[in-house]
Amino acid sequence: MSVADRVPLPDATLPLAGLVVAVACWWAVTVAFAVPPFLLPSPAAVLARLVGNPELYLTNAVETLRKILVGGAAGVTAGFTLAVLVTTIPLLRRALYPYLVAARVLPKIAVAPVFLIYFGVGFETAVLFVALVVFFPVVVGTAAGLSRTPDAHLDLLRSVDADPLRTFLSVRLPHALPDVFAGLKQAVTLSVVGAVVAEWILSNDGLGALILAASENVQVDVMLAALAVLLPIGLGLYGGVLLCQRAVTWG
């Protein structure tokens, strides 16, 4: 499909210039007003932290990424599967769908302490929490998308007695893709939030745990360094979803 050339990448020059100016201002403020480093370290101090102990940030970043990827995959799989079930079995739809939509209002973060009691501290608990956070936008987006197939298209396929699996793969799923990706984009953002929260409450490693520990020791430079690592992780994942979307969707 020649979709790639239809959605142009935004010109990166101006945003990059904005970033440079912002960092320069930050630096200027710390120098000009002699801000104490425990309040606001200079960009150089943050960079020194990163360069001084790259393994610390790298290993923690890997831990966080693992939670995001494993939990995200589990949440997406579960959400997608339930959405397919809910949209193919009308009884299930009527029984469950209102709760799936309503559950989006519930702040999932509030569930973390409950997970702590039931499952204890550990990688698995953190993964489960990320999966939970990812699950809801995926199930709601996918179910909305799968319900969007125009009736006339389904009539057309019925008129040649097309089998349900082919109908699903060639008509229902492609019609659903824009909504599926809308759900996935929400999910990928939430997965990073979920992993960090999980590392505060349900796990002792990763960038979230590093930020929490640094906060307790008032090491603002370490916190900012950890955030500086977290940001490209989140952006990279979001970009990955966008690239997938551009590869498989139309118009």
């Binding site: 019925r158 040649v160 118009g251």
Partner: protein
């Protein structure tokens, strides 16, 4: 080819169609005309097996519609073109045939698009085609399926008058070539007269607004159209055409 007996259809508490007996010969072009909500679409959907009859039976070439569906013998064309927006014109034409489990024939699909006047647009997406072109693709899709029976539900209903007339001439040309059995539903009396060998008038009893009182649609009149074939735009101005249209209009307004 199509045989319906004592057909009636009710959904929930609404009677949509009652007492329909119908025979359509092989290769015949039958038009069904009536006001909106009179049950003519229901009749077409019932013939095509998309709607279960409440009473009565329908057969297509001796088989129930479900059997005809599995054998890809029914080619529907809807008012909505139902093209898949992510597929090109030719992919849309071959798509239904693939879904029906028949051997793909992309070369045949391209030929068909050429004969339906879409030369050069084979690889265009539906969004790049005009309303009339989209319906041409939808018709080509039904023909390419290899169906014996074309069931057309107001296929030109959303087109402007001029395009509509052109499409009418086009569909007759295609029909002359392929000799399919056609049931063509429309709310345009001139269109029904221009296209059909025979024109069935469907209306609900009594009330002028059948959708409101829920009285079922019936076949209230039937006309053989005495216009020689092949027909083209010149027919529209002829006296016979005007007289036939007047007769069908009369039946629609209850002056039989």
């Amino acid at each position: 080819m199509i045989h319906a007996e004592n057909l009636s259809v009710s959904y929930d508490d609404v009677d949509a169609l009652a007492d329909v007996d119908l025979d359509v010969d092989e290769g015949e072009f039958v038009t069904v005309v009536g006001p909106s909500g009179c049950g003519k679409t229901t009749l077409l959907r019932t013939i095509g097996g998309l709607q279960e009859p409440t009473t009565g039976t329908v057969t297509v070439d001796g088989d129930p519609p479900e059997v005809a569906q599995s054998a890809a013998r029914l080619g529907f064309v809807f008012q909505d073109h139902t093209l898949l927006p992510w597929k090109s014109a030719v992919e849309n034409v071959t798509f239904l045939r693939r879904m029906a489990g028949k051997d793909p024939d992309p070369a045949g699909a391209r030929d068909l698009l050429t004969t339906t006047g879409l030369d050069g647009f084979e690889d265009a997406r539906p969004s790049e085609l005009s309303g009339g072109m989209k319906q041409r693709v939808a018709i080509a899709r039904a023909v390419h399926l290899g169906a014996d029976v074309l069931l057309m539900d107001e296929p030109f209903g959303e087109l402007d008058e001029i395009t509509r007339d052109e499409m009418g001439v086009e569909i007759l040309r295609l029909w002359r070539k392929n000799r399919k059995t056609v049931v063509f539903v429309t709310h345009s009396v001139p269109e029904a007269v221009f296209l059909g060998d025979r024109c069935l008038v469907v209306a609900a009893d009594g009330d002028a607004d059948p959708a409101a009182n829920g009285s079922p649609g019936r076949i209230v009149a039937e006309f053989d159209i005495d216009l020689s074939r092949p027909r083209d735009e010149s027919v529209f101005g002829s006296e016979t055409f005007g007289a036939q249209v007047a007769r069908v209009r009369g039946a629609l307004h209850g002056d039989t």
